[in-house]
Amino acid sequence: MLAGAGASGPTPVPASAGDGAVPPGGRQPDSPTAPGPAAPPPPTAASGPEASAPAGEARGLWTDAWHDLRRNPVFVVSALLILFLLVIALWPGLIAGQDPQRCELGRSLQGPSAGHWFGFDTQGCDVYTRTVYGARASIAVGVCATLGVAVLGTVVGGLAGFFGGFWDGLLSRLTDVFFGIPMVLGAIVFLSMVTLTGIWPVVVVIAALSWPQIARIARGAVLTAKEHDYVQAARALGAGTPRVLLRHILPNAIAPVIVMATIMLGTFIALEATLSYLGVGLKPPSVSWGVDISAASDGMQFRNAPHILFYPAAALSVTVLAFIMLGDAVRDALDPKLR
């Protein structure tokens, strides 16, 4: 029997294993599960150091998810793309040497040329430079709004689900009220009232109107998690409410929130562009894809010079797609039912 090798005795352990801080995933001699498939070297496994980890090995949820993700081409492509976008959002100078605000009206609407691959926009600014610099605002809005939504939604939904009764009623009705406000309409009303400029009003309005989705998911996840025996067991062994919430419920309820937040990040970037296009989001001189798309459609300029609409729109689409793909891949990896 193949399992004989595994069951005959403990496998050798590294000497560092003395303090209990051994990384998870060590193969156990008495495990009743996964005996057979791990014994012969998996023929399909890639060469290299990772190949020594047998495929049938048992792991925790997050280790498992990471294991799956690394092999998912959708994840690899979207993650590389997002990594690239993050890098240019932080250091746009790496691939665009010019100042996005330095424009020459004389070159207005000039087509692509050597040294200016994307051509010039109405104001005579270099479209390539502006597209690269536009990533910063779009991604900043997306990331900040997502963080705000995730924190607010998890806190409100989590408390509602955990405490139930009166608090659940109160917080859930509050969630419903915000859920009922139409996103774009609410954002237009709010943003046309504030006089602040920059990304913060946009971030705040997106977060304030989008958290109910996360709150509902978090509430459901906490309701499920708190019914588990280990929550009662933790209480039976003397854990207090904060510890039960943070250590036992939150880590077991956070996965659906992470998935939803990743997918929402893409839609928030699109939302920023929508609001900027409508003239209430970011405004010039801010540089963002939405601002550029808006400028390109002014007076139908893009009919004569399609490049001024195409490049920022393409950058936006690719970015949104990358985040939604990442969200999809993460969801698949964290949902054991799809495995």
Binding site: P10, H228, A233, R247, P251
Partner: protein, 334 residues
């Protein structure tokens, strides 16, 4: 007495109205003693345990009466924070299904070490070392390495050992084990029960063993309390109860256990089903299923707990046998 439960009643709010799951239960446990609470599902044994531990889900459940004296202090009068401090430290609980009672996203070593960090304020390193020591003590091979594994990586028996180690961590005076072996294979059941009995002796803990399995308790328990429909119907030292049950329900239970010396004969069974907690019969709750029930069994009030005294066995008197059967004399005698 380590633990004295007096006249404990627990009610649940359900859609069908208020249901009394535990009705006037009294238990007593001396330090170092093992008491088995025996009963079918729905008899109120787990709810009693939860009420004693203070982990009853409320709402919908609530304690409507009685006292739970732990080393002389009434736990029901303590604040939530005082009760929390007692849990884990002075009394701990072992659950039926260790896979669901251990947090799936934390390693067992971390969960064990958490006991020391929370209650004793130990450092990470120190508590991790203690966790490994505990795992070793409950017989988990290669404990140092296994401490980094997650609950699902353990076999059922090993997982229950982890659960026992967690309950044992702070050396509590009282451990309540709620069906600790029900989810395990028969061979592993014996090992886990042996371990539990051994640790109880070593640490001189009081053990309340909640079970529906007569076979499990015979070797381990000192005394048995039999529950039916939320009440205790009989309490007796193990040997007495097995030899001469003083309640018709206990008798029915014992007769429905397969025995080698009755090989080939039809297995006796208690006819009927246990009552739903929302519709408990009048008088003695067992009367619809009882072979000797008479008119007085059907009528209220509920039979009191009679002191069972047997002239033939004077030694048994001191042990405080009780039975809630009007006809305990006939039952014992026949």
């Amino acid at each position: 007495m380590l633990l004295e439960v007096q006249d404990l009643s627990v009610e649940f709010d359900t859609r069908d109205g208020v249901v009394r799951a535990v009705d006037g239960v009294g238990l007593a446990l001396a330090a170092g003693e093992t008491l088995a609470v025996l009963g079918e599902s729905g008899s109120g044994k787990s709810v009693t345990a939860q009420a004693v531990m203070g982990i009853l889900d409320s709402p919908p459940g609530r304690i409507t009466g009685g006292r739970v004296l732990f080393q002389g202090r009434d736990l029901l009068t303590l604040s939530a924070e005082e009760r929390r401090r007692i849990r884990g430290e002075r009394m701990a609980m072992i659950f039926q299904d260790a896979l669901s009672a251990l947090n799936p996203v934390l390693t067992v070593g971390f969960q064990l070490a958490e006991m020391f960090r929370v209650h004793r304020g130990m450092s990470r390193r120190e508590s991790a070392a203690r966790a490994v020591g505990l795992m070793d003590r409950v017989g988990i091979p290669a404990a140092a390495r296994r401490a980094g594994d997650y609950p699902h990586q353990f076999s059922g028996g090993m997982r229950q050992r982890v659960m026992i180690a967690m309950a044992l961590a702070l050396e509590p005076e009282l451990i309540i084990a709620d069906e600790p072996t029900t989810a395990l294979d028969v061979t592993v059941q014996a090992q886990v029960m042996d371990l539990l009995a051994e640790l109880r002796r070593e640490y001189r803990m009081g053990l309340i063993l909640i079970t529906h399995d007569l076979g499990v308790v015979a070797d381990v328990a000192d005394r048995i309390a039999v529950m039916y429909a939320g009440r205790i119907v009989e309490q007796a030292p193990v040997r007495e109860l097995y030899r001469r049950p003083a309640h018709q329900y206990t008798r029915g239970l014992l007769e429905s256990v397969p025995r080698l010396d009755r090989k080939g004969r039809e297995l006796a069974a208690i006819r009927g089903l246990p009552p739903s907690p929302s519709r408990v019969p009048s008088g003695c709750a067992f009367h619809p299923r009882c072979p000797v029930a008479r008119e007085m069994c059907r009528a209220d009030p509920v039979p009191p707990l009679y002191q069972v005294r047997m002239a033939a066995e004077p030694a048994a008197d001191a042990a405080g046998r009780t039975s809630a059967c009007h006809f305990w004399k006939e039952t014992v005698g026949g």
